[in-house]
């Protein structure tokens, strides 16, 4: 299941997040953080837990993301990717680093 997300993530990153994208984050189209590749930088636009496909309920997922600092306006940068299927990812959220699976990161809409 997750491997599907991973292949999509590669396509997306080629189309949508070229290198050095961090300089003009506001010009990207919106995309889920779950598709972002290493080096991507952007700003959280909103949370959309209903489409993420996480095992958690929408409210629970959204609450947990907020509690870890994933709120609107926070700057994010994908610092590292896991060895298998580029999952999970380590994300810098303002000045904290959070590890999260791509599945849950699909709920975070960035641009």
């Amino acid at each position: 299941m997750t491997s599907k997300i991973d292949t999509r993530s590669q396509e997306h990153s080629e189309k949508r997040s070229p290198r050095h994208s961090g300089r003009h984050p506001q010009k990207h189209p919106e995309m889920p953080l779950g598709l972002a590749r290493r080096g991507y930088t952007g700003v959280i636009q909103h949370l959309a837990a209903d489409g993420a496909g996480s095992a958690l309920s929408d409210v629970e997922l959204e609450s947990r993301l907020i509690e870890l600092g994933f709120v609107e306006g926070a700057k994010v940068e994908v610092l590292h990717e896991g060895a298998v299927g580029r999952d999970p990812i380590a994300v810098r959220v303002d000045n904290v680093t959070i590890a999260v699976r791509r599945r849950e990161a699909m709920a975070i809409i960035v641009a």
């Binding site: 993301l65 600092g69 590890a99």
Partner: protein
């Protein structure tokens, strides 16, 4: 006038330095135990304030909110709200923040404020914040938050002075009736609002030229690299294994020899008889056979605590998450399972690093399937007696191959069982998504580590002195009573309850190819797996116990068929032949139910594996 004991509770997000603050305040005056009925570690410590007030401090499990989504977080919530039965409601809640990383803690603090409990904010690791150029206007923050704020440097001598003074001040002006509890679980909108509020207060009172920690970035570039990261992890594990086996060995041998000497001393001093046998074989060798594992436990916890303090553990979980995830295990189960190759006891104790109950339980249930070092004497004995020493495929030693196969069978079955547990037993439990903070690296503090190891070692020894001791005495009793009649020529154990049990069990074990001697050896083998070797020696009337393993092997080779030997190997991969492990499972899960479940499933697997092995081997002509 003697003031009553003041109850303080430490609350904070994971990695806020709560535990190092706890250690700094209480030193070695702490008690580590479990909360009744749950697998959550309860840490309480004591200290005296400068004005002489006696304080009890509990270190509550780390949490990002009071919603209580795991048993740990529920404990935190219930104690803060005063709902936990048998727990004192804290007179003062100390919310601990990593001063370099305030966002999440300030949000938690705003939530805590709604409980109406007396509250103070402790900005811990203030030295690191200052070094990074983070300036906090403490007075302004205190005013904006409406709670007292103090700074602390838990790891430095005198670094908690302000906090101690504040405790005295607050306890002097404490109201007997605290404000009403206005807390209820926050909705998503309220969560957002409190986070905004927290961000506003931080913007007002903190100036953040916060250069990101360049050391952390540099280390992570290697340690979290998909290839290099796994190599580093492998290297760390290799060193850890070496340490557990090689460093612990001389000390373990010394301990073992000391217990033997002590036993011999008891043997020589006391007149032959029951008391002599009880002290030598029941008490001294029973407790001794457990205490020899203490060096391994200390070394494993040394590594675990060092890696945890340094900040590496969450990285290891990050690297292993997907690899373990395939079998339904959490990334954090990796280290405990690995420790179980040395001994399941420290492995099961190490599952405390897994914060989700379901994941922790699965890991505890499968940890005994990892081939522990106590199986090695049994494997070695049977392999050297029955497996010819020759090369297969030109370069592989057959005996080594069989040994490897036994290890592999353990790992594969552990993963399989975990997979089945995930699908059948704990399905309704909400799986923990992998979301965790990767904290900045910090230099581990020796004092904190020493306290951590000390408290774990004491827990283990306490257990050795109670549960395990009781089991050892029971097993000694079974192997010693009734006494042989005068003039009997057979070994004394032949007349014992253990032999009767063995003979009674023999028909049950006949389908897997075990004779009554094996069945009987399995009874004292419950004390520790390798004791079965000595028991077989006794029953086949060979003097010398463990040292005479080679002689035993030669005898066994003439008395057993190859099929029986292979069947016994298969049995030992799975069988729950370790009373201590079962006792630890009971303790760590807080329930007899899970201990019984482990015993039952392992026994079933063992019987099935032996049955298949024996019959296949007989069919192939090895009977």
């Amino acid at each position: 006038m003697e003031a009553p004991l003041l109850h303080l509770a430490l609350v904070g997000t994971p990695n806020s330095g709560k535990t190092s603050l706890f250690n700094a305040l209480t030193g070695s005056r702490q008690k580590v135990a479990n909360y009744p009925g749950v697998t959550v570690e309860r840490k309480e410590g004591f200290f005296v304030t400068p004005l002489g007030r006696q304080v009890s401090l509990v270190d509550l499990p780390g949490t990002y909110s009071l919603r209580g989504r795991s048993p740990d977080e529920e404990i935190t919530r219930d104690i803060v709200l005063g709902h936990a039965s048998g727990e004192a409601r804290p007179d003062l809640v100390l919310c601990v923040a990593d001063a370099t990383n305030l966002r999440l803690t300030i949000r938690l603090l705003l939530e805590l404020k709604r409980t109406g409990r007396p509250l103070a904010l402790v900005l811990n690791m203030f030295d690191i914040a200052t070094r990074r150029g983070i300036a906090v206007d403490v007075a302004r923050m205190s005013e904006a938050l409406g709670v007292p704020v103090v700074t602390s440097i838990a790891v430095r001598k005198g670094g908690t002075a302000d906090l101690l003074t504040l405790t005295d001040e607050l306890s002097a002006q404490m109201q007997p009736l605290p404000a009403e509890n206005g807390w209820r679980p926050l909705g998503v909108a309220e969560l957002r609002a409190t986070q905004r509020e927290a961000d506003r207060i931080i913007a007002e009172s903190v100036s953040l030229p916060s250069r990101p920690d360049t050391w952390t970035a540099r280390i992570d570039a290697v340690v979290l690299h998909p290839v290099a990261g796994l190599l580093v992890l492998g290297l760390i594990l290799f060193v850890m294994f070496q340490a557990v086996f090689a460093w612990a060995k001389p000390v373990m041998e010394l301990l073992s020899a000391s217990f033997d000497t002590l036993g011999q001393f008891a043997h020589d001093t006391l007149p032959a008889g029951l008391l002599q046998s009880f002290l030598q074989n029941g008490v001294i060798s029973g407790v001794g056979s457990v205490i020899v594992f203490l060096p391994q436990i200390i070394i494993i916890f040394l590594f675990i605590l060092l890696l945890e303090d340094f900040g590496y553990m969450s990285r290891a979980a990050f690297l292993m998450d997907r690899i373990m995830g395939g079998a339904g295990l959490h990334g954090r189960a990796f280290i405990p399972l690995l420790s179980s190759f040395a001994c399941a006891i420290p492995g099961i104790m190490a599952t405390r690093v897994i914060d989700n109950r379901r994941d922790r339980l699965t890991t505890i249930l499968i940890a005994p399937l990892m081939t522990c070092s106590a199986r090695i004497p049994v494997y070695t004995l049977i392999i050297s007696a029955f497996i010819p020493e020759r090369q297969v495929w030109g370069f592989v030693n057959l005996q080594g191959l069989v040994m490897f196969g036994l290890y592999a069978a353990g790992i594969v079955s552990a993963l399989g069982v975990s997979f089945l547990i995930k699908f059948f037993m704990l399905r309704d439990y909400a799986p923990a998504p992998f979301m965790l903070e990767l904290p900045d690296y910090k230099m581990p503090r020796l004092k904190s580590i020493a306290i951590g190891i000390y408290s774990r070692a004491m827990m283990f020894l306490q257990r050795a002195g109670t549960t395990i001791f009781a089991m050892m005495v029971l097993i000694w009793f079974l192997a010693s009573f009734p006494q042989p009649p005068l003039g009997a020529t057979e070994p004394a154990i032949d007349f014992s309850l253990a032999a009767m049990l063995g003979k009674a069990l023999a028909p049950l074990l006949a389908p897997v190819g075990f004779n009554w001697q094996i069945a009987m050896a399995l009874v004292p083998g419950m004390a520790a797996r390798e004791v079965a070797v000595a028991a077989l020696g006794t029953v086949y009337a060979i003097e010398g116990g463990k040292e005479a393993a080679e002689a035993i092997g030669q005898v066994l080779a003439t008395k057993w068929s190859l099929a029986t030997a292979l069947s016994l190997l298969a049995w030992y991969i799975f069988a729950p032949q370790c009373a201590s492990t079962l006792a630890v499972i009971k303790r760590e899960t807080g329930s007899w139910k899970w201990m019984a479940a482990t015993f039952a499933y392992m026994l079933t697997l063992a019987y099935a594996a032996s049955l298949v092995t024996y019959n296949v081997a007989v069919a192939l002509g090895a009977g």
